[in-house]
């Protein structure tokens, strides 16, 4: 059943219809019951009345009948004139013959003989024969005919009922109009607010709450939803604005290093024979490249945070090592800006179960910020200590400080407190956000304190220490010259420039290098070339890197070869796949020559150890997954004095790695 249009659209009309319908029904039932009862009652009353009248008449006329006194009987009958409803009456002798009669109107008549006792109703008339007895002695019969009047009565009743019904409906309508306002007014208010939202996208309006009933709850819920929507919309706008700013910054930051690189290349061409100029140009290129790598690493981290794929790789590591890695990475910048750095670290021997790379990244970020946001010649302090079972690291500066209202906001993604400052490197505005996330992943917290603009700032990182009393793992000094050992190296990469440049580097280091540009060719070449080490691109044509690795492992000539995946993909799932395919290590492009040098050094020392020490000592086996993350080696020092194992790089920690199976052994290095 479909309701009329008006009823479907308006609560008010519905309520009115409801009230009217229920009232009408109640009144109808009531009226029917009343009329029915009244008709019955009227009939009984009328009959009783006529009977009584007949009784009175009979008794009064008994003597007249008994003594045959017609005149007296006539007089008795004529008293009926007072009764307008009685149309005719008659008295009969005991033998049934007519004795006397009374006719109200001329056209009325009476039966000529007495009928049997009892009443009958015909049309609108009731007639009655009633015997008369005097002290048990029958003296005759009385006859009465009266207007029943039921029809008039019924009409009168129905008329009254109709009037009452109309009155009651009108009253109900008025009352419901009045009462409805209590119900509909709050609904209308909510509706009005909702309409404002739908039609004008205006989330600032609020539904007035005038009752404490369900509608009041509805209004509250609606208001809190509006508030929530507004908050979210504001947050979305802010995030959107931040993203726009971030994109602008990103473009700017990515473009920035290109000019110096281009200039440096030009310089190298122009001043080919000037070793000092080319050296400076190289250094410049390296610095700018490092800057770009860091930017891209940050971007990758941002994407990991937003997709929830940022995971820690905890290991036992000495606090000093982590801190010094960070310091070394930021040293050049601090020097360049003429700051002084005071460092207080706990004595050697404090080991933590943390992700060293990530923690170093946090420290580096804070130190970087301190250096960046202090005017030249500033004072920076880096204090790390174990307090009450937790690591507390403080980075203090006397720089530009932070306005109180910005204290929380600076931890937001893409937030940059002061974009008007002409800082040499602005960064992407993700550092603090990333740092906070990393610290939280460690189960810790990061807080900032600043006395205001120009008053410096202090960042405090707290991480549960989980100190261990266990002995530090066995350490081995990696031979400094290990990287110079000769190897047969297979390079499989469809990017010719990359492959050729890498081959040149490797050959320059005294290795024998073979290049293939697709997977099938690489596999074919491997059989006779028998490489010690193979760098395999994952996205190879014809045979992809994973399948190629499996095939090489199956091939007798390369079963024991060291297989390194080189790819643009750095997701943990990719690493896992690489591990399953049989890769020993994993490098994310861009591959830095330092890392390759380090790896080669470790592998050769491992090989040497294997050949000299025989089977590995079981107690020294390290169970860490050897595949490393070179994408996050954001703390590589920019200095051009390459240590054999750059301490901050992820590949460095990866070098503390193990090969599975019979080839497994332990290689550690001392980063100091």
């Amino acid at each position: 059943m479909r309701l009329p249009r008006l009823l479907r659209r308006s609560v008010r009309a519905k309520l009115t219809a409801l009230v009217l319908a229920t009232t009408l029904l109640a009144l109808l039932v009531n009226a029917v019951a009343l009329v029915y009862y009244n008709v019955r009652d009227y009939r009984e009353t009328q009959l009783a009345d006529v009977r009584t009248q007949a009784e009175i008449l009979g008794r009064a006329s008994a003597a007249a009948l008994a003594f045959n006194d017609r005149e007296e009987a006539q007089r008795d009958l004529s008293t009926l004139q007072a009764r307008a409803d009685i149309e005719s009456a008659a008295l009969y002798r005991p033998d049934g013959t007519l004795f006397a009669s009374y006719l109200r109107a001329a056209e009325a008549g009476v039966p000529s003989r007495a009928g049997p006792s009892g009443h009958s109703i015909a049309g609108d008339r009731v007639s009655l024969f009633q015997p008369i007895a005097e002290k048990g002695d029958p003296v005759g019969t009385v006859y009465l005919q009266a207007r029943y009047g039921l029809r008039e009565r019924l009409l009168a009743y129905l008329g009254i009922a109709a009037l009452v019904m109309m009155g009651a409906l009108a009253a109900a309508l008025l009352l419901s109009e009045w009462l409805q306002r209590a119900v509909t007014a709050p609904i209308l208010e909510v509706t009005e607010a909702a309409r404002a939202v739908v039609e004008r996208r205006d989330y600032t309006g609020r539904a007035g709450k005038s009752t404490e009933d369900e509608i009041g709850v509805l209004a509250d819920a609606f208001n809190s939803m509006l508030k929530e929507v507004q908050t979210r919309e504001d947050a979305l706008r802010l995030a959107d604005r931040r993203k726009d700013e971030f994109l602008a910054t990103l473009a700017h930051e990515l473009r920035n290093p290109l000019a110096p690189i281009s200039n440096a290349l030009y310089l190298m061409q122009a001043a080919e024979n000037d070793p000092q100029a080319t050296g400076e140009a190289r250094a410049m290129i390296q610095r700018q490249l490092n800057q770009m790598v860091r930017l891209v690493d940050d971007l990758l981290d941002v994407s990991r945070i937003t997709t929830g794929k940022l995971a820690l790789r905890r290991e036992r590591v000495e606090l000093r090592t982590v801190a010094q890695n960070a310091i070394e990475a930021v040293e050049s910048m601090i020097r360049a800006r003429g700051h002084t750095l005071r460092v207080e670290l706990p004595p050697a021997g404090v080991y933590l179960n943390v992700d060293p790379t990530r923690l170093a990244q946090v420290f580096l970020n804070l130190l970087n910020n301190a250096a960046k946001f202090s005017d030249p010649g500033g004072r920076i302090e880096f204090l790390a200590a174990i307090e009450h079972g937790e690591l507390v690291a403080r980075v203090r500066d006397n720089g530009i400080g932070i306005a109180p209202e910005m204290r929380e906001e600076i931890f937001d993604m893409f937030a940059q407190a002061d974009r008007s400052l002409e800082r040499s490197t602005m960064g992407l505005g993700v550092g603090l956000s990333l740092s906070r996330r990393l610290v939280e992943l460690h189960g810790g917290s990061i807080a900032v304190r600043s006395d205001g603009i120009g008053r410096g700032a202090e960042f405090v990182v707290r991480i549960p220490a989980q100190q261990s009393e266990a002995r530090p793992p066995l350490r081995e000094k990696v031979s400094k010259n290990a990287g110079e050992a000769r190897h047969r190296i297979l390079l499989a990469d469809d990017n010719e420039d990359f492959a050729v440049s890498l081959a040149l580097l490797l050959r320059g280091m005294g290795n024998e290098v073979r290049i293939e540009h697709d997977g099938a060719a690489a596999l074919a070449a491997a059989g006779q070339f028998r490489p010690d080490i193979a760098f395999l691109d994952i996205g190879l044509p014809k045979l992809n890197g994973f399948d190629l690795a499996r095939s090489l492992r199956a091939l007798g000539a390369t079963t024991d070869s060291i297989l390194v995946a080189v790819t643009g993909w750095g997701q943990p799932s990719d690493r896992q796949k690489a591990k399953e395919a049989g890769f020993d290590d994993y490098m994310v492009k861009p591959v830095e020559i330092e890392k390759i040098r380090t790896l080669l050094g470790q592998w050769s020392s491992m090989r040497g150890m294997l050949s000299s020490a025989g089977p590995p000592v079981s107690g020294s086996i390290h169970s860490a997954m050897p595949i490393s993350d070179s994408a996050s080696c954001s703390v590589s020092p920019a200095s051009n004095s390459p240590p054999p194992a750059p301490p901050a790089s992820r590949s460095a920690s990866a070098s503390a790695s193990v090969r599975n199976g019979p080839r497994s052994s332990l290689v550690c290095f001392d980063s100091q």
Binding site: A63, R93, D95, E134, K135, D137
Partner: protein, 172 residues
């Protein structure tokens, strides 16, 4: 059965002889008077209502016919013909024919306060102690009542009977 027979007879006679005789009417009246009269409790113990008739043989006969097998106020009606000098003790009602005016005086003297409904049929009877007296009015038999006489004899006469009386003496 006999009552029904008598009733039918009476009804038949009424219809057949459209003009009933004076004696018949008087007998019928006499039969109906007890319905409208109340005797003192003491006078009406168990037993029939006794109606004495003197000097009116036709009426006595008619009355006997009417009363045969019928009751008034639940009592049978006994008709007793009174001879000369017979006392009125035990009677509830006494009808004296035209010739009995001396007897009226005698009854008045003998039992002046006895609850006895004395009915006569001559002019002036009420002045001599009768309670009810038949009169002729335009050829119809009617009756007059002496309330003081009734009161003296401890009788109460229904107002409805008084209503059809031609004349009522000695208003209460």
């Amino acid at each position: 059965m006999r009552a029904a027979f008598a009733f039918i007879l009476l009804a038949f006679s009424c219809v057949a002889l459209a003009q009933p005789s004076e004696q018949e009417v008087k007998a019928a009246f006499l039969f109906k008077f007890p319905s409208f009269v109340e005797w003192p409790q003491a006078a009406l113990r168990a037993g029939p209502i006794v109606i004495g008739v003197a000097g009116a043989e036709d009426v006595a006969t008619q009355l006997q016919q009417i009363a045969a097998g019928r009751t008034v106020q639940g009592r049978p009606v006994e008709v007793r013909r009174l001879r000369e000098g017979e006392p009125v003790a035990g009677l509830h009602m006494l009808f004296l024919g035209r010739s009995q005016s001396a007897r009226l005086a005698e009854v008045e003297r003998q039992a002046p306060g006895q609850p006895l409904l004395i009915v006569c049929e001559w002019n002036g009877a009420l002045e001599n102690g009768a309670v009810v007296n038949f009169v002729r009015d335009e050829g119809r038999v009617r009756f007059e009542v002496a309330l003081d006489a009734a009161e003296r004899r401890g009788l109460r006469i229904s107002s409805r009977m008084l209503a059809v009386a031609q004349n009522v003496q000695g208003k209460l």
